[in-house]
């Protein structure tokens, strides 16, 4: 194997092992920031030694052993500092674990470490973008550079976010634990949101020249599937996974040969990924069964997955059950009132009950000054106006949408629609 081969092999091992490694070390040092640094140190040791010695037979165990040694050193060092502080009369909270106990903790096959790591990385004490960065880094095994590329920010911005996040977790003394009772539900919502945010940024990039970043969708999907294994009893987790599998199934149909976006109604459905559709529908089924067995309530992610399932089940666009979709959106608006959801509902209502009904809902949104700078509002309004034959108004709306769109590909698509609209009136 060449040095590059070894390097790539180490990267692969890191991808598979890093989350468990960080989680295991965090259980010892009780600080995910420190644990992450110790894990990085172990990785550096691997990068130094493996090109000489070859990749060990059990690379995960090797990394864990290297990390563990560093963790023990770290605790000893801290103990010394504590003793010094005690000597000079500063009171410090006693360290919970002595070194022999650390060894015992490591042999204890508690499977909750990863789950603790998820909950800590997605702690509400952190701003959302920090949660996203930390989750991708600690659970997804992504490098700072990879995260920066995915979110079109500089590497130093990501690095800063991560450093600041780790400091915040330490300062606020966020415990490395799975919350219980009511706290659990609230925190799980944050975890789901973070994974959803990652997926969405990959699925419909808010800025830049690519309409999709499939790599980021894959990362989110993998994180979602991991979460479903960690919290198998939570309907909303399966709802999230179902929604992501179903949305991702349309990935290759959503982008045309020149990288341009292809909207749902125009997609070539034979390009939809049937394996992902099957997985999505199965996850949705699981979510409903769990929901029924519990309180019977349907959460927002299960609703969104149900909407995606309506599309997935329609073999042709005409077979789409828009009435059901409109009904599901009404439920979603009730659970999570938001102008964006309301706008989606308007689209569904327009498809189910005609453009006039849809336009009425969109006009209500405009009147409320909601989504003033959101390009899809004028774009959807234009669509209804065109169907109603009000071409001049439609063109003005489309021009407004062009001026608001941030994504280069979307802008181009809208410009094309303006031209079509203008051509139909002249």
């Amino acid at each position: 194997m060449t040095a590059t081969d070894i390097h790539r092999a180490i990267e692969a091992v890191w991808r598979i092992e890093s989350a468990r490694l960080i989680a295991g070390l965090a259980r010892i040092v009780r600080d995910v920031g420190v644990a992450e640094e110790l894990a990085q140190d172990a990785l550096v040791a691997a990068l130094e030694q493996w090109p000489e010695s070859g990749v060990p037979r059990n690379p995960g165990a090797w990394l864990m052993a290297a990390g563990k040694n560093r963790a023990i050193d770290h605790l000893r060092r801290n103990k010394r500092i504590e003793r010094k502080h005690e000597e000079i009369g500063i009171e410090l909270e006693a360290r919970q674990m002595a070194v022999p106990e650390v060894e015992a903790a490591l042999d204890d096959p508690v499977g909750d470490d990863l789950l603790r790591l998820v909950f800590t990385a997605c702690h509400p004490v952190l701003p959302p973008e920090a949660r996203v960065a930390l989750t991708l880094r600690m659970l997804g095994g992504l490098t700072t550079g990879e995260i920066a590329r995915a979110f079109l920010v500089t590497e130093s911005t990501v690095a800063q976010r991560i450093v600041r996040a780790k400091r915040t977790l330490a300062e606020k003394q966020v415990p490395f634990e799975v919350p219980r009772g009511e706290e659990l539900a609230a925190r799980l919502t944050s975890v789901i949101e973070v994974i959803y945010l990652i997926f969405n940024e990959g699925y419909a990039a808010t800025a830049g020249d690519d309409w999709m970043r499939p790599g980021l969708c894959d990362d989110a999907l993998r994180l979602g599937r991991i979460l479903a294994e960690l919290a198998p009893q939570e309907p909303e987790v399966h709802g999230l996974v179902a929604m992501m599998e179903l949305q991702a199934s349309r990935g290759r149909a959503r982008v045309g040969p020149k990288g341009e976006p292809v909207l749902l109604y125009e997609q070539n459905r034979s390009l939809w990924d049937q394996l992902l559709i099957r997985r999505g529908l199965a996850a949705l089924d699981r979510a409903y069964k769990l929901g029924e067995a519990q309180d019977g309530d349907v959460g927002p992610y299960v609703l969104q997955a149900s909407i995606a399932a309506c599309h997935a089940r329609a073999r042709t666009p005409e077979q789409t059950d828009w009435r059901r979709i409109a009904m599901l959106y009404r439920e979603l608006v009730r659970l999570q009132p938001s102008p964006v959801v309301e706008l989606n509902r308007a689209v569904a209502v327009g498809m189910a009950f005609g453009p006039a009904a849809g336009l009425e809902l969109v006009d209500a949104l405009s009147a409320a000054n909601a989504l003033e700078n959101y390009h899809l509002l004028p774009s959807v309004r234009a669509d209804f106006l065109m169907k109603l034959g009000r071409m001049d108004e439609a063109r003005l709306e489309l021009e407004r949408a062009v001026s608001l769109a941030q994504n280069g590909r979307e802008k181009a698509l809208l410009v094309e629609r303006v031209q079509k609209c203008a051509a139909s009136t002249s």
Partner: protein
């Protein structure tokens, strides 16, 4: 990227119909499958009955010919597969090396072709699908 991990057990090429794997080996394999699943990389998996229960259809001279298994010339046959989704070829290899395979088992890794792998001419060929479907009444 997606990989198919094809498990090829030696001896399976002429295994008797109804041959079943050893429960102990299956236990170890299930633990491995669980690892794949917990890591969020497993998309699908299946085991296959031996080729002695299978059929081959060949097309000598454009003429379909049906042949019942076992197939005398077969040296290596597929006994089962996993479909995994990973970030790199190396990650797929790393997963394959973790399989609790026995002396007579070999895993072949094959990357699944994706739309983005196609050269422009193949992509273009695929882009003609909607029109074709329209003509067959399966309009999109």
């Amino acid at each position: 990227m997606r990989f198919m991990m094809l498990m090829m057990p030696k001896g399976y090429e002429d295994a008797k119909p109804g041959t079943m794997p050893d429960p102990k080996a299956v236990g170890a394999m299930m633990a491995y499958n669980e690892q794949l699943q917990k890591a969020g990389v497993l998309l699908a998996l299946d085991g296959l009955h031996p080729p002695s229960m299978g059929v081959r259809v060949s097309f000598q001279g454009g003429q379909p010919n049906v042949l019942d298994g076992p197939f005398p010339e077969a040296k290596e046959v597929v006994g089962g597969y996993w479909m995994i989704q990973v970030k790199s070829r190396e990650e797929a290899i790393e997963w394959a090396t973790r399989c609790p395979g026995s002396d007579n088992e070999t895993i072949e890794l094959r990357q699944v072709m994706e739309f983005s792998d196609f050269p422009p001419d193949v992509k273009e060929a695929a882009s003609a699908f909607p029109e074709m479907q329209e003509k067959t009444g399966q309009s999109t």
